[in-house]
């Protein structure tokens, strides 16, 4: 194994560079912190840190940035589970079951599972990156507009499985999200739609809407409740889940990681899509799908391992092809070029030693994330013990500051608060918020890529059934949408038949 030798050498080189290890640690801690705050995303953290790495040696600088990237993807889950504040769009998926677990007093185990799953998903994706990078690189290029469109349609079909109690209400929420997603610049012709002349509305204000729907709405709701404390278990209790419990999650973690890596490789698809897809598939393969949305540990495990599995996939295309799959790796591409390293096919040949030292460092980053994560959970869990009179204003303040930080825009704060009010009433009337977020992620992606695919094919609709990946993804999407309905119809028919048979027996 040539790669294994190189990796071992990488570890040796890394061990002799304590500064790089220290900076990686700092990066991970910073990333977790940034990820946990609503509005501050890994992209922003990486971009802000970039100028500081100018003066560092390549390994230290890049490891610090990787640390922020990994920590940022994971950090979003902590506040999502404890307070229903998704620090990142991917964490909005984690919040679905994570916060329900907190309500049940199982915050500790939920956090522990999220941390372990993030670690396993991330580490596995880096290992895939190390050993299979050249083989998988071609996969990204197979993805054209029609494939991305099919992926987005599949993503939209997930609404059926995250709708909670009522599929109809879920679909209504999803369509609401799609409607909001049409606001802004037309993705193909650059024509402003429904903007009312506001330049601020040219881009769909996605993150403010998400923060409002989840965090602000939850804060408004707690204002209603006269109790002083949140009423959840004061102490976190057990953090590391029992082996017997976690062993049952391993299959979910493995599947989600695989999905995460694949989605990470696809250009333009990132951790948010991976988290939702992983959640959907976990529910599909689960023996108890009815528990999802009511506090299912496997739901948390799926989202977190899927989101972190994305990191290796995104890095894979960036390093091997020189093409960033998402915003974070776009900044990292800049960081690499700044260090005089040209990402792309030649990187592995010309700088193999450095690349494998980086890989070794990335594995170290994930171990650091596990240690820092598990170590700080008990401290972060104290948040739940805060009296509501302090916690609720703090959450609202965080929402406002975080929203402002995205674009330095007061307008976004208005949008966030409006979404908060809408989210409050949606909760009251039992409309789920996740379909709105999902539609906001997938809607623009589906529209832009459908129209781009049409433009590429010269106006022909043939791409819908002549391209194999497109066909497979569209078929899965149709199955996802209609299988639950068919299942329900069949069980309903079986029931009536049984009762029918039973009554005829009685008559006899």
């Amino acid at each position: 194994m040539h790669e294994l030798d190189l990796l071992m050498n990488g570890f040796v080189t890394l061990a002799s560079n304590p500064l790089a290890l220290l900076l990686a640690l700092v990066g991970v801690a910073l990333g977790i912190f940034i990820g946990a705050l609503p509005g501050l995303t890994a992209t922003m953290g990486v971009a802000i840190l970039l100028p500081f790495t100018f003066g560092m040696d390549p390994v230290s600088g890049l490891l610090m940035i990787s640390g922020v990237f990994f920590g940022g993807v994971y950090g979003g889950s902590v506040t999502a589970i404890l307070l229903r504040i998704p620090g990142t769009p991917a964490a909005a998926a984690t919040a679905m079951d994570g916060f329900e677990l907190t309500r049940k007093g199982m915050a500790g185990v939920a956090l522990g599972t999220a941390t372990l799953s993030s670690f396993l998903g991330g580490t596995a994706s880096i290992i895939v990156l190390i050993f299979l990078a050249p083989i998988l690189a071609g996969f990204a290029l197979k993805f054209s507009a029609s494939e991305s469109f099919a992926l987005a349609v599949f993503g939209l079909s997930i609404i059926a499985s995250i709708s909670g109690r009522s599929v109809i209400k879920g679909l209504i929420a999803g369509f609401l999200g799609l409607l909001i997603a049409t606001v802004g610049m037309d993705p193909m012709d650059g024509f402003p739609r429904f903007t009312g002349g506001y330049t601020e509305l040219f881009n769909v204000p996605f993150i403010p809407v998400m923060i409002g729907l989840f965090a602000a709405a939850e804060a408004f709701k707690t204002l209603e409740d006269p109790k002083v404390r949140l009423g959840m278990a004061a102490a976190l209790g057990r953090i590391i889940p029992e082996w017997a419990t976690f062993r049952r999650l391993l299959g979910t973690v493995a599947r989600s990681t695989g999905l995460g890596v694949a989605i990470g490789i696809i250009p333009g698809a990132g951790a948010d899509i991976a988290a939702y897809v992983a959640y959907n598939e976990a529910k599909r393969f689960s023996k108890t799908p009815e528990n999802y949305g009511k506090g299912e540990l496997a739901g948390v495990a799926a989202c977190e391992s899927g989101a972190n599995g994305c990191t290796g996939g995104a890095l894979l295309t960036m390093l091997t092809l020189g093409i960033p799959g998402d915003a974070v790796t776009a900044v990292m591409l800049g960081a690499l070029t700044l260090q005089g390293l040209q990402p792309g096919p030649l990187l592995f040949k010309e700088h193999a030693e450095l690349v494998f030292t980086l890989f070794a460092g990335m594995l170290f980053c994930y171990v650091a994330m596990l240690v820092i994560g598990l170590g700080s959970l008990r401290f972060m869990g104290r948040v739940l013990q805060m009296p509501k009179s302090v916690l609720t204003p703090v959450i609202l303040l965080l929402c406002i500051v975080g929203t402002y930080a995205i674009n330095n825009s007061l307008f976004d704060i208005g949008i966030m608060l409006a979404a908060g009010v809408a989210g409050y009433f949606m909760q009251k009337w039992d409309f789920p918020a996740s379909p709105v977020v999902l539609a906001l992620i997938m809607g623009p992606m589906a529209e832009a890529n459908f129209r781009r695919a049409l433009s590429l094919s010269g106006g022909s609709y043939d791409f819908l059934y002549t391209r194999p990946i497109t066909v497979v993804l569209l078929t899965i999407a149709i199955l996802t949408l209609f299988l639950p309905l068919v299942k329900r119809w069949r069980s309903h028919r079986a029931e009536t038949r049984q009762t029918g048979a039973a009554s005829s027996l009685n008559q006899a």
């Binding site: 992209t43 922003m44 990486v46 971009a47 802000i48 970039l50 100028p51 100018f54 990204a140 290029l141 197979k142 993805f143 054209s144 507009a145 610049m185 993705p187 193909m188 012709d189 650059g190 402003p192 330049t199 601020e200 040219f202 881009n203 250009p267 333009g268 092809l321 020189g322 093409i323 960033p324 915003a327 776009a330 900044v331 800049g334 070029t337 700044l338 260090q339 005089g340 040209q342 990402p343 792309g344 096919p345 030649l346 674009n407 330095n408 825009s409 832009a448 781009r452 433009s455 590429l456 010269g458």
Partner: protein, 329 residues
């Protein structure tokens, strides 16, 4: 509890009144203070996201400007609207030199599309820092070895050659449209969400060519996956001296994006002069030039008046082109 509240309130009131006094003083003695400009940190507005090309130029410049000005320069990203939000903010800023901006070629594009409240005349140019030409790049295994062959093929198959760009109405789209106009060809323009996805699509063989800058395809060129046929510049690129310009091939066309420091129109002359001197020194700083070179960005310093001419020329060119294309409103 009560004491602390009162204390906070006192501190807040004190801070507020001090701030108001300060602001008042600044407006009254604005003219007199110009001589001592800058007396507080300068804000540099970047109309694009942190980590992108424009942001990187801005941050490298702010770093270099530290040595030239008694006060520091902080970068603030105001994104949205394809640059319109940030550029509007620069246009509407108080013209005292404390809020300056990173102007981009979009200053000469957005006003014609009817999506901006500013025009090119709302800005006073300080210094151009960077410029990147458009280039025609195809896959390495494409049948066209020269730009002539490529254009001939496009002429013979109107509407069949797909050229990827970074978005409708963005600079690389207009570059391809201008090429079409000059050569009498018809392309199929495919907009992507930025230059990178367009390059990915080209690598995958889903489109025939891209019109993005050389820097955006440099790593794939180095690896021999792509081939650059021509650059739309006056001179050949220093990084790719073997690639001819369109001019050499008899097509009189040069289209480039640029980034530079601009301030609102009514900024006092003394402030403009201070900024121009400082920008010149910062731009000529070797560290700044090295930083740009490392990022594959082309150093293209031009002083205020010269930069202004480029802006006016581009504005007229794009206005004409977009009117012909029916994109102007």
């Amino acid at each position: 509890m009560k004491v602390s509240t009162r204390l906070t309130r006192t501190v807040l009131t004190a801070g507020l009144s001090a701030g108001m006094l300060f602001a008042g003083a600044a407006t009254i003695t604005g003219g007199a203070l110009a001589a001592e400009y800058p007396a507080k940190p300068v804000e540099l507005i970047v109309p694009y996201a942190a980590g992108g090309g424009t942001d990187l130029v801005a941050r490298a410049f702010a770093d270099a400007a530290k040595k030239q000005l008694p006060q520091s320069m902080g970068v603030v990203n105001k994104t949205g609207g394809g640059g319109a939000v940030g550029l509007t903010e620069i246009m509407a800023a108080r013209p005292d030199g404390y809020k300056i901006g990173m102007g981009t070629v979009e200053i000469t594009l957005l006003p014609h599309m009817g999506v901006a409240r500013f025009t090119v005349d709302d800005f006073t140019p300080i210094a151009r820092l960077n410029a990147e030409p458009s280039a025609i790049t195809v896959k390495a295994d494409a049948p066209w070895k020269t730009v002539e062959e490529f254009l001939e093929h496009a002429k013979a198959n109107p509407g069949k050659v797909r050229i990827g760009n970074s978005g409708t109405g963005a600079i690389w789209h207009l570059a391809a449209e201008a090429l079409e106009e000059k050569t009498g060809t018809t392309f199929n323009h495919v907009p992507f969400d930025g230059a990178n996805p367009a390059v990915t699509s080209l690598l995958g063989g889903h489109i025939e060519a891209v019109s993005v800058s050389p820097a955006e395809v440099s790593s794939q060129l180095a690896a021999g996956q792509l081939r650059m046929l021509a650059v739309m510049a006056e001179q050949r690129s220093k990084t790719f001296p073997d690639v001819p310009t369109l001019k050499e091939k008899g097509v009189d066309l040069s289209v480039a994006t640029w980034r530079g420091i601009v301030v609102p129109k009514k900024t006092p002359a003394a402030v403009v002069d201070t900024l121009r001197t400082a920008s010149k020194a910062a731009a000529e700083d070797q560290a700044f030039r090295d930083q740009l070179a490392k990022m594959n960005l082309t150093w293209a310093y031009a002083d205020g008046p010269e930069f202004g001419q480029v802006m006016q020329k581009d504005n007229a060119f794009f206005k004409d082109l977009m009117t012909k294309l029916g994109m102007a409103k």
